[in-house]
Homo-oligomer: 211 residues x 2
Amino acid sequence: MMDIQIAVIDDHDLFREGLTLVLNQVQGFQVVYDTSDGFRFLEMLDQVPIDIALMDIEMPGINGIEITEKVLSLKPDLKVIALSMFSDTGHYTQMIHAGAKGFVLKKANKFELEQAIRAVHQGGNYFSQDILQKMAFRYTNHTVGCDQLTSREIGVIALVCQGLTSQEISERLYISVKTVETHRSNIFLKAGVKNIAGLIMWAIKNQYYNI
Amino acid sequence: MMDIQIAVIDDHDLFREGLTLVLNQVQGFQVVYDTSDGFRFLEMLDQVPIDIALMDIEMPGINGIEITEKVLSLKPDLKVIALSMFSDTGHYTQMIHAGAKGFVLKKANKFELEQAIRAVHQGGNYFSQDILQKMAFRYTNHTVGCDQLTSREIGVIALVCQGLTSQEISERLYISVKTVETHRSNIFLKAGVKNIAGLIMWAIKNQYYNI
DNA sequence: CTCGTCCTCAGGGTTTCCCCCGATGTAAGA
DNA sequence: TCTTACATCGGGGGAAACCCTGAGGACGAG
């Protein structure tokens, strides 16, 4: 039986190297490629046969979501499992939309990851329990939900998170204070939060704002 | 020559296991103990001889700073190197205060960590470049800076970050709204921020609040 | 005992947030 | 063409945040 050929894309060197060693210890697994650079991974696609790609999401430069989209347009049979520090909204919906077959948290243990790889390799899916619960909550809680923010709203949310007042934002964007407040309100609705504190947590978790 | 005996304390299983494998590959290093639980580590101190402890800071329950304090009160000769995802303020000062001899970011590579371990084991220090730069900036920029928060303030800041209003906090803590506002103001002063947005970013970076 | 720190509380003020309502113009799509 | 989504702007009002000042009690260190 052929080993499952795995690639690891993660910018944290220690984590990536360690993960490689851990996976190579597992019977039937073989890490055939690992890199911290998503672009390099795209270039290597034709040179190394890969079954499963373990893809970090938060990376400088090109992020895991974009890489996944590009990879799957080139190699539709390759299976991508997303890795992330956070279990929260936005991330995984975007990753699923990009075509990822699984989603595992970095705080998972070896056995969960092994399970995920085997499930996905056999044509299934794997989403860690945290994710499933959040998704279920999303549906039952039918907040208007994960409406994407408009580009203007994304511009505003970044400034809000930086602590600028509506006044300051209006000056920065050359629009009226009232317009800023409208955007704020719409963002609050979409995020399902009720004040700045909640918004910031939401923005960070959904990668609209980075610390 | 005796191997350097290393313990790894980190709640992220994959990272910890991987790190253990990586370090065991290094000539002269041996990971003799690893755990996700700080309390368990404290109990094990007498049973396993340890030279170096690699200590994660962000952990549920007891954090790396408290563990470090307790460990060093029991075993002053043990050398603690802090591991952290973030390079930002507060963390490392608290860790240094607790007695850590080094500070390495999780995004470091194997060679940097190896260097850090050797330096600390020989009685030196090791602080990653990011940290040193921030410290230098701190001094030149002499913000009144890292006044520690009082315990009450830490309690308040967590609730503020959860999006509670002063009214709600006062009910939760059984104190007056005015008292809450006083604490808020004092926190704002110490943090050097001017509104909730800034405060939340500061609190996250300084680990007074976790996402 | 004094000093400093911390926690507590208050008055009174300005600013900002947050929410209600409504409105116009524009551009993309059915 | 009609609809929908988006961005823009406004009035008004209550709630909360924010800023300043002052002050009393507790408690530990020197």
